[in-house]
Point group: C2
Chain length 700, copies 2
């Protein structure tokens, strides 16, 4: 659907210029120099010129005596809407608006951008930009941007919300650091967004890895839906900027958009299988390895080095990254021992020694690559007196071409070593100046293996009483309230198949005693009033009441106090509630609504684990059974769920069940803005959980 942006049969440059200082010149020049003129027709549109850069110019696209597939618009912003409309008249299906002066330029600009969007919709034009650098496809080839030169071709495709960052990326590419298949500067994303490109690039045979720089996604849920599918086909690596407080302030002053929370992005990327880079360097390091090397099929890495120290650094780094050092077959060790000098190490990391020439590296690499216990190779090289840098690099490249395991290198140094790095680059073997960065790349490859092979976990849907819940919300709203707790919350829990403690409302002390004898002592008593939110503050909660007398006393005192301190409050009586049996673990299930992603469900242990240690994890609802299970494993104190100090393991299924049903509740009712079950008391395996207290807040 986005084909005209990447493989148009013809391109018009609206605002093409003869003045090399103008962007309209740069774009046209890139279409010419980047090789597109050999591929398709290029039409400079400029009412004041007959010919530019050897191409016949036209006053308007309407004058062009042929179909136009793509329009690139580089004219002052005031003229852009009209120009786009003319494109519509001509039947052009796609336009890249490079011009700035829209949403990023204040209220007036925002108006103009809305006009643009309306025209595009009306005329059925897909639109990239405005306020962008343009689009490059190195395979077509087509450079429809004002970049300084065209980057070399390669297996990586990059979409960037920041055009400036794009210039830096292209500059690295031109220095030979990476090769690009497609590059899109997204600009203001008036129409085409990350989601469209993800979908388009998923099946692009020239793209091995998709890279994203974003400051905020337009539709979180839709992004997740698409990304979940795409990440089964190829790796997606993304960096989201504006994650800290200062950073998100900077984003909103830069893009004017409301930032989703850091937690929501973290959860969403994880759920969708998007690899998240924490730094730009990581983005490149990770994408390089995945773009140029085959899939890693396990986590066992073999290291070959000509230096002990760097070998240890590489070992440390791989272990810290959660990878493991391959244990070689006896056969491999014997072969290495025979061929290598006595002082060398035939075990992993293989140290071919400082005086190793290319032949020793080659032999060791072949043996290590053949070992069935090795999933990937890391070659470390320092430039010592005898080191044959170029030949070693060539041998590594040839090996990498032949085998289907990834090979990555850490040639350390620059002045002498760069001649080797250049050869590695030609062969598509990524080189990392430091072994720690190579380890980061392997870690991401290993994570991607899990993502690609993750089981298709289902979205379960429980049989719940949605109507009862809707009725309750309606009646609460009718009573002009937004906050829900206690008996009402209990009804919701029951409607969604969850297990609140038994409880009933008592109007009098005697009724309370009657209820308690049915439920069984001890009980909890709570003041029941729609007007008292913080019950404990007015002595409105009393636990562990063991007999009728204690219960009567509590009822009367509680009612008296409420009447005295909050005379305006409506009193419904007191709620008599089953006291949860001892021996359970307190956990918390919560939800708040993220502006970008919607319902963000929290899980953590109760009490100080949440409050002090902030030991919680998040998922965007709806989520799968597997996601819910992963939440349990992700908290730092997860061992407590398995039982420590002789405690039995808790009923994890009951927690998963609660998470999934709450996920369904908050998905069913977008009007729930906040929700907390605190605590959910979980009992030993098979014994379930009790949702002691729930509190919900509805949107205005």
């Amino acid at each position: 659907m986005l084909k005209p942006f990447f493989e148009p049969s013809s391109v018009a440059v609206i605002g093409a210029s003869r003045d090399p200082a103008k962007l309209g010149y740069a774009v046209l020049n890139n279409l010419v120099e980047g090789g597109y003129v050999q591929k398709g027709a290029v039409y400079p549109i400029n009412p004041k010129a007959d010919e530019i850069l050897g191409l016949a110019a036209f006053a308007s696209v309407l004058d062009v005596p042929a179909d136009i597939d793509l329009a690139v618009i580089v004219i002052p912003y005031t003229y852009v809407p009209a120009a786009l409309r003319v494109c519509g008249e001509k039947g052009i299906p796609a336009a890249i608006v490079i011009s700035a002066g829209f949403r990023e330029a204040g209220m007036e600009g925002l108006e103009r951008e809305r006009e643009l969007i309306a025209i595009a919709k009306e005329c059925d034009i897909r639109l990239i930009g405005p306020n962008c650098l343009g689009v490059i496809d190195t395979i077509t080839p087509m450079n429809a941007s004002f970049s300084a030169g065209t980057p070399p071709s390669g297996p990586m495709s990059f979409m960037s919300q920041s055009g400036a960052l794009g210039t830096a990326i292209l500059d690295w590419a031109q220095a030979g650091r990476l090769g690009l298949a497609k590059f899109v500067s997204l600009g203001n994303k008036a129409d085409v967004s990350e989601i469209d490109l993800l979908e388009a690039w998923a099946d692009d045979p020239n793209t091995n890895v998709i890279m994203i720089y974003t400051e905020g996604l337009p539709d979180g849920q839709e992004f997740m839906r698409v990304a979940r599918e795409v990440t089964r086909k190829k790796p997606v690596v993304a960096i989201k900027s504006g994650v800290t407080d200062s950073g998100s302030r900077a984003v909103s002053s830069h893009t004017g958009s409301l930032a989703g929370s850091e937690q929501a992005y973290q959860a969403a990327f994880r759920q969708a299988g998007v690899l998240r880079a924490q730094t730009m360097e990581e983005l490149f390091d990770v994408a390089l390895a995945m773009g140029y090397q085959p899939l890693l099929q396990g986590d066992r890495i073999g290291i070959v080095t000509n230096a002990g120290g760097p070998g240890i650094l590489a070992t440390d780094a791989l272990e810290r990254a959660g990878m493991s050092l391959a244990r070689f077959e006896l056969e491999t060790m014997q072969a290495l021992e025979e061929f290598l000098p006595g002082a060398a190490s035939a075990a992993n990391p293989v140290d071919v020694l400082g005086d190793a020439r290319a032949d020793r590296y080659k032999f060791a690499l072949e043996k290590v690559a053949q070992d069935p216990n090795v999933d990937g190779l890391l070659v470390v090289l320092t430039p010592q007196a005898m080191t044959e840098i170029r030949q070693t690099a060539t041998d590594i490249g040839e090996l990498a071409k032949r085998i289907d395991k990834p090979v990555i290198a850490s040639f350390m140094g620059e002045a002498v070593v760069s001649q080797g790095i250049d050869i590695l680059t030609e062969y598509g073997v990524p080189n990392y100046s430091f072994p720690e960065r190579a380890a980061t790349a392997y870690k991401a490859m290993s994570r991607y293996l899990q993502i690609k092979n993750r089981p298709l976990s289902e979205y379960v849907s429980f049989d719940v009483d949605k109507q009862a819940t809707q009725d309750l919300f309606d009646s609460v709203r009718e009573a002009e309230r937004l906050s829900i707790g206690d008996a009402e919350a209990k009804a919701i829990l029951e409607a969604y198949g969850l297990n609140p403690p038994q409880s009933r409302l008592a109007a009098t002390p005697s009724e309370a005693v009657e209820i308690a004898s049915q439920i069984g002592f001890p009980v909890v008593l709570k003041i029941a009033s729609p007007d008292i939110l913080h019950k404990t503050d007015v002595g409105g909660v009393k636990v562990d009441l063991r007999n009728g007398e204690e219960l009567r006393d509590a009822f009367e005192l509680m009612t008296y106090r409420a009447q005295r301190y909050l005379p305006e409050a409506r009193l419904w009586g007191c709620q008599v509630q089953e006291m949860a049996p001892p021996g359970g673990l307190e956990v918390l299930v919560g939800m708040n609504r993220d502006p970008q992603f919607g319902p963000l469900v929290t899980f953590g242990l109760g009490g100080i684990y949440v409050e002090t240690l902030k030991d919680v994890t998040f998922r965007v609802a709806p989520f799968t059974v597997r996601d819910a299970e992963m939440m349990l494993a992700e908290i730092r104190a997860h061992a407590l769920l398995d039982g420590v100090r002789g405690q039995p393991p808790v009923d994890k299924k009951a927690i998963v069940n609660t998470l999934l049903r709450i996920g369904q509740l908050v998905t069913d009712f977008p009007e729930i803005t906040e929700l907390d079950i605190n605590p959910l008391i979980v009992y030993p395996q098979g014994q379930g959980a009790i949702a002691i207290d729930m509190r919900l807040v509805l949107s205005e």
Copy 2:
């Protein structure tokens, strides 16, 4: 003291060769080409040559008709000991042994190295190596190594246990990435170690920052003593390899030395003020900024960028690094607003916009630099169409020269951008390809500010009864035991001024009741036997005994069970112990002995915090009051010490007091190999702490 290694008046090369393939040629050639021949006399020692590289050769150092300051030995290992002895005869005070074939080559090599050490001692020769690359001093200048070429001069001095890593570093230096004052390849560290060089470089006016790569320090306590002083004068940045399990196995197979624990290194570096780099990249990034730029005097950074996206990345990275974004004076903002175009951002991060030429950068930088709320500057640049890369770099360099605040840059890109980076390098303005790395550098600078200015915290020494403790240890040993607990441990706690619960030994139930009525019920009863280590396993501990009857019953049952199940055990009776009052927080104080650093004291919260969350911190004893205080702040759950959920803050002073006194105990008695106070119950502020249980183990 090490002056002859860096500024010798004359150098002899023992094993100087005419064959360019030999190391003996490379070393001599570096002395010549590196400029040393213009500075001092160079004597090639080779019995088969009259002259090498234009220098008169001698058969032996004894034939040289002048004093020799430094000998560089590059001959086969079998001849090295004899050659060193001859150096002794000649009265040469310093030798660099480049030859390999010593400790690193197995048992025989180790013997040879010991011989070398003995000769050096006997002849009063200081020795660097063996098995090393050599020594370079770019100021003298002197290159007494077999490096490929001489690195450019600069403010960074580097010592490396790995020679191979040294070659990589020199290769980066030669590519212009850094400038070195001194470089030492330490090799096997038979004599001169990291400690000697730290001491020597502390006062070297040409060294602004000391960099260390080590696989293991020879004497942990001595290193700390020296480093503590040196880090007040200049920053020391170190990387320790072999920190993971696999890594430390690789170290010991590489160097044959016993690795200290990761925790000990972490604690020791922190105590000594050594900045620890986690990766090689971090080592360089951090050292570059501290080597070339003035001290950072606060943590408020001003960012100037020509790109919104990278500005946000920089903001995120600084905030994540714990730095803060400077808030400008109104004056600064006004000046920026006046000069910059309307769409620019005059607040921090200052966005001079994509079309900024050098003048806009210059103006903004001047204003930001002048702002009194700015402690350091970060300049972000992407190569956009109008960007004047060279002029902007020059302006940044000139500004940096003039002001006494650090200025660092992140010019992003390479093909076009490198021309600017080269200019920045000339001016000594470090450039980081990614803003996140610049933030890492600032973080380290800010940490160093704290290190440099840290208060001189005293090592307190308490008045304790050391003799009583010694007597007790003696008697335990006499009884052929190594494990100490209960009443004996209580005596030690008392001797060291700590507060165990009141307790006394009762031989009979009646005696127990008498003791309990003095102490006050409730009490704890414990079986007393030197042969029962795990009392709870035999029902030998009973808590919360409320009256005489319960106490008698417990005494009899406990004694009966012990006699029945452990008939061999000697029974001393039962210990009657004060029951700690409720309302305290359980913490843990422990110690184990690290092979490199000695007594490593642990602090953490009790129970699951230690067991499940591993939330503990470490210090090498002896440590200061400030160190003990920092331990309390370092645990993740530290907020619990300040009181959460309405709890009062605990008596931190009592914990600090315990840590210090235990630190003194384990320093006084190296024979204590393990120690645990678990739990130490800490009460609210001013109410002290009780060391409920202590267990010690003595060395064999």
